[in-house]
Symmetry: C2
Subunit: 274 residues, 2 copies
């Protein structure tokens, strides 16, 4: 089977930075998974004894703690600071930005609208910086059913789809006097999405490699699926099924921003052998 | 010929207000035409001796001066104030708003982008309130050829088409970190456009009544033309041609925001007689 990789795929700046920081703090604890990729988390544990703990209460006093790429809620950061001074902030700078925007815009009296998944840790963190209750919407429909004020500030979860974000902008501009739009979708997300879209158009089958709890990986899957109906999301080579490739000639591969190269390489090698 | 009027058409709040103000100042001078409708300007002259003068230099000291609905440049207002204290401001409040936004946003360091026609008096007035040079664009193409900064504030000439405005928003959101969108398209414009669009879909011929130098009238014509190929823009009943109506059953009529009812009524009566 012939394999073609997307022009842009895999590790983004924020993930690369977070892993480097975690590797520099052996025996550290990350508050929740550092990135959304179970295999890479396992590797950090095996090679550096960097472990995950979801619960602040359980973290021993004065531990070495690493804040995950997705950021954490403001309140949790305050609790954490009471426990330890040894905090390494691996929050992606592209996530710190919407946190700051929320804080500033809510203080200025704007209704904050966040395009994102309110259960996602990044969004939970960003929400915590609002001085009033933000409106979190997963899609245009949710927005249409919500009460919108005259002056709104809109931000996006960094890993969302630009096309859907623009539909939301469109609706808000029609219905508000002032809509302050902060395009907080990160460039890596945007580039990976564009590349996946283009690749999906020309191949017979698309394989997306990444964590199943990873927002940006799911976006890549959804976008590719629009253009290539035979599209599969896998975490590693073990999930590949020979039958998927029957009668196919060209296989496209892309990967989420938290998928390390060693996982992608193994997937590509295995497909090429088919 | 059967005639159907658009649900919303003709005089808007700002024009109605301006005419009332002008009627209350007999013998007054308007700096440029009060509204973009030559027939109504004629009526104001005949009935109230309200005359038009385009040139500030020619206006006698201490005259009664009325500022047109479209507003005037800030510098002209200052010159005028040196000549007379008797100034009646008939600037539409929906035009005063973008003037204020430009002043504020340019002071805050935003690049000002105005969607509009830089030769139109409203836009000339709005531009004059910017502390830096604004970018005035007539369409998306002009924007694509321009240099765009990281932080922009976008406003629209009050009479522009919302669909084109949204295309511009779309492009800016993709290309700027922050895009502050002020939907300054006035409601009357929006309602008249929506109504014309709906009516054009169901009739055999559309007649748009209004001044040929009127921006909002031209928009109505362009929108209607998209849905009804037999579409004509006329200033009054004298321009109607019998041949246009051959084989047609239902005629739609709409009119610009500066078109008085007495002109529209005459047009409707004449078409009905055909």
């Amino acid at each position: 089977m012939k394999v073609k990789l997307a022009k842009n795929y895999g590790f983004c700046f924020g993930v690369r930075r977070a892993i480097k920081l975690a590797e520099s703090k052996p025996n550290g604890i990350t508050l929740g998974p550092l990135i959304h990729n179970a295999k890479e988390i396992e590797r950090l544990k095996e090679n550096f004894n960097v472990v995950v703990n979801e619960n602040i209460q359980e973290i021993p006093k004065d531990s070495e703690v690493i804040i995950r790429t997705h950021g954490i809620p403001k309140q949790d950061l305050e609790l954490l600071k009471q426990k330890t001074k040894n905090i390494t902030d691996a929050t992606c700078p592209f996530v710190t930005k919407p946190q700051e925007i929320c804080e500033k815009m809510s203080a200025e009296g704007y209704q904050i609208i966040i395009f994102g998944d309110e259960k996602h840790p990044e969004v939970k963190g960003v929400m915590s910086y609002c001085k009033n209750t933000p409106l979190v919407i997963e899609d245009l429909m949710a927005l249409k059913n919500s009460k919108i004020q005259e002056k709104v500030a809109l931000i996006s979860q960094t890993t969302k789809n630009i096309e859907s974000f623009l539909q939301i902008v469109d609706f808000l501009v029609r219905n508000c006097a002032e809509c302050r739009v902060f395009n907080t979708i990160c460039n890596a997300t945007f580039d990976n999405q564009e590349s996946a879209r283009n690749l999906a158009k020309e191949v017979d089958i698309m394989i997306i490699v990444g964590g199943k709890n990873s927002s940006n990986t799911k976006q890549l899957y959804n976008i590719s699926k629009e253009y290539c109906k035979d599209c599969y999301l896998i975490e590693d080579y073990l999930e590949l099924r020979k039958s998927w490739f029957d009668g196919k000639k060209l296989c496209g591969v892309s990967a989420g921003a938290s998928t390390p190269n060693w996982i992608i390489d193994k997937v590509v090698q295995d497909i090429e052998k088919l």
